[in-house]
């Protein structure tokens, strides 16, 4: 019966028996601690405040106050019909502001649709930053000029963009870090997974910054994930994960700075989860009372990022009544300017609809543009229009 055993196609090598797989395919083990500290990192109310740069703390405070005021003004603009919609980051200002401040000129910011404030804190003209939400165009600025990607509405889709851009910069030898923002809900999307995996494999200089504000519209985190924390997701990609108190501005700033530094120095990507809370409804169009109680909101208001920092700075004698007033005045002035500018109607040219589809307009688009042109002309001259319509064609 020799024949039968040989038909079980056996390689000659198979007579040797090794009980462990060949070393090449051993799973890699990493000496670095793999799991994030489950306790969010904090600076305020801890020793660490003493080490913080007082200049930075004051800067953060001023920006938080401006940020809070910006959110309030933008919400007011929706009521006045000057914005189509506004997804407020009230309560999340520490994250928004820190994300903008940790980046250098040449770095890129990849905001999600809730991150107008980060874009403004980065220095972009707020009217341009609000273009999408006012509704006169989709993106109101040149992303390359400002190194700010368009605000992304399709959730998590901006994350692979950040990875590709950072990777491209690294291949070119440029000193560029990409910081990509996403919400807790966005971490459930396939694009989140693919982006983090590509980043880790390519060791791309990216920082993934998740603002866990407790909700994806009405869906609470407990229906979104069963993980110990969102930062724990880093383990599965072989990158460091870090939890931070998202309402503690110096803490967020510090954790982001460290991640940006790691990226810049070739250490690859980091995943950061900032634990925070969305104080307002999802947008002005949402009714948050349908899915959460006031008690929860109140509890979080007591952990407010602006007040937390203000309290700490006041306690330490780094901020007085005068400073508080100055910050508020500055914020008010900013808001007043914004309100005035947003009260002007944007200049719109319907022919722009055809201007940026392709580098060169196709014959079909030229025809369609001509059609719209004719319609616009006719409605500018309604008499001529109504008369000739049936016959001229």
């Amino acid at each position: 019966m020799k024949k039968s055993s040989t038909t079980v196609q056996e390689p000659p090598g198979a007579v040797v028996h090794r009980s462990t797989p060949p070393p090449a395919w051993q799973p890699r083990t990493d000496p670095a601690p793999l799991l994030p500290d489950p306790e969010p990192y904090r600076v305020l109310g801890t020793e660490a405040v003493a080490d913080a740069d007082p200049e930075l703390l004051r800067r953060l405070y001023a920006e938080l106050v401006r940020g809070r005021r910006f959110n309030a003004q933008a919400t007011a603009l929706t009521k006045q019909g000057r914005l189509a919609v506004y997804p407020s980051s009230t309560g999340q200002e520490a994250c928004e502001v820190a994300a903008a401040l940790v980046l250098q000129e040449q770095d890129w910011l990849f905001p999600s649709y809730r991150d107008t404030l980060a874009v403004v804190a980065r220095g972009l003209d707020p009217v341009r930053a609000l273009t999408l939400l006012r509704g006169d165009w989709h993106t109101g600025y040149d992303p390359r000029e400002h190194r700010i990607a368009p605000l992304s509405t399709p959730l998590a889709t901006q994350l692979p963009h950040a990875v590709g851009l950072a990777h491209a910069a690294r291949l070119k030898g440029d000193d560029v870090v990409a910081l990509a923002m996403v919400g807790d809900g966005g971490t459930s999307e396939g694009d989140f997974h693919e982006a983090l995996n590509f980043a880790a494999v390519w060791k791309a200089p990216v920082v993934f910054f998740v603002q866990n504000n407790g909700f994806a519209i009405s869906v609470p985190l407990a229906k979104q994930t069963a993980a110990p924390s969102l930062a724990h997701k880093a383990v599965g990609y072989g990158m460091p994960g870090r939890l931070v108190d998202g309402n503690d501005a110096p803490a967020v700033h510090s954790v982001l700075t460290e991640a940006v530094r790691r990226a810049r120095s070739g250490g690859g990507p980091t995943l950061i989860e900032a634990v925070t809370y969305r104080i307002e409804a999802h947008t002005n169009a949402d009714d948050a009372t349908r899915y959460r109680g006031d008690g929860e909101v109140e509890a979080w208001r007591a952990h407010d990022p602006v007040r937390l920092l203000e309290h700490e700075l006041t306690e330490r004698g780094m901020l007085d009544e005068d400073g508080i007033r100055k910050a508020a005045d500055d914020a008010d002035a900013m808001a007043a300017r914004l309100r005035d500018r947003m009260n002007a109607d944007p200049e719109l040219d319907p022919m722009d609809l055809f201007a940026h589809i392709y580098a060169e307009q196709t014959a079909q688009l030229r025809e369609q543009a001509a059609q719209l042109r004719a319609e616009l002309d006719a409605s500018a001259d309604p008499a001529g229009d109504a008369a000739g319509q049936g016959e001229t064609r």
Binding site: A84, P154, E189, K223, R393
Partner: protein
């Protein structure tokens, strides 16, 4: 072919004003009450009742296991719905907006549309995929796509879209009752449209697949569906002043396509304009116009024209009115139907 008139009689008794959103809600509610295998799932469909409130009250009435807030992942939603259907459930999936159905595209095309065929009929997937679609509500980018061309090009799917409150109920019931996957396109801007309709005695459910003549006329046929029906009916009214008596066909079902109703109408009128909001090039109108031209060749007095959205990404809110086919654009097309040759 069923006409509006005949359907209205059947449900006219205790009619009160109802919105399309309410009729859709009612359709799911009745289906869930009648059939315990009907499950609703999607983003925010539970506690919130959906961003358009179409699933309002379902979780409260049937529990979170029957109307479930899922994690935020559209491929996951549709993919798990496939598994649920494999086990004998009848999932009704909500995609929050048209453009946010795209992440589920692979599950839709490679599994949902093909499973019955792949398994020689042994694994049908009775899944209803509700997609709020189209523009006109001032939405920011990615919230106003007309994505029906993608679904029409995918054999194995039914693709339907109601244009009236009554159809919203009847067609959604029929979609849920169907043993095949149905992409159920809900015209966003009609969610708050109202009609006299009696939720107490909703119309009997007809199987999907038939068009309906919403207005009879002799001069030309407007072929349309979903959000553009209102535009066409208005245009037909306005056209009377120009001496045109327009017939309006509401397709209701894009797949299967009701050639019979459309062809009968165009053969009668001899002229046709296809009207939809979706981009013109590669959009549904090409297929529709090609079918009409092929089947009515010797009856046509003029080429079949199309009035559609431009071949551009959906515009920002402040410019959308220039993109959307309106009454004037429909009348312009009607005017180009070579009336001179006729007289």
């Amino acid at each position: 072919m069923t006409t509006v008139a005949s359907r209205a009689t059947r449900t006219g008794k205790a009619a009160k004003p109802a919105t399309m959103a309410q009729a859709l809600q009612r359709a799911m509610r009745d289906a869930m009450a009648e059939d315990p295998t009907v499950h609703v799932l999607g983003e925010d469909v539970g506690t919130l009742g959906g961003v358009f409130r179409v699933t309002d009250g379902l979780a409260a009435e049937f529990g979170e296991d029957r109307c479930t807030d899922t994690p935020l992942a559209e491929a996951g939603i549709l993919g798990t719905a496939v598994g649920m259907a494999m086990y004998g459930l009848r999932p009704v999936v909500e995609m929050q907006f048209d453009a946010f159905a795209y992440p589920a595209f692979e599950q839709l095309t490679s599994h949902v549309a093909k499973m019955r065929n792949r398994t020689r009929g042994s694994l049908p997937l009775p899944i209803t995929i509700r997609v709020p679609y189209g523009g006109g509500i001032g939405g920011v980018e990615h919230h106003s796509d007309s994505s029906e061309a993608y679904y029409m090009a995918t054999p194995g799917l039914h693709v339907v879209t109601p244009a009236t409150v009554e159809d919203a109920y009847g067609m959604l019931r029929a979609a849920i009752a169907s043993d095949d996957p149905v992409v159920f396109l809900e015209p966003k801007r009609l969610y708050w449209s109202k009609a006299q309709w009696s939720p107490e005695s909703p119309a009997a459910v007809e199987p999907i697949g038939r068009a309906v003549v919403r207005r009879t006329g002799l001069s030309a046929t407007l072929v349309t569906y979903g959000p553009s029906l209102t535009v066409c009916l208005e245009a037909a009214e306005a056209a009377r002043a120009e001496g045109w008596d327009l017939e309006v066909v509401d397709l209701r079902s894009l797949v299967p396509f009701d050639d019979e109703t459309v062809v009968a109408s165009v053969r009668r009128t001899g002229r046709a304009v296809v009207v939809h909001e979706s981009n013109g090039f590669g959009g549904p109108g090409g297929e529709i116009a090609a079918r009409i031209s092929e089947r009515c060749f010797h009856h046509l007095e003029a080429p079949v024209l199309r009035v559609a959205g431009f071949d551009i990404p959906y515009p920002p809110p402040m410019l959308e009115q220039h993109h959307l086919p309106g009454v004037d654009r429909v009348l312009d097309a009607v005017a180009r139907l070579q009336w001179e040759a006729d007289s």
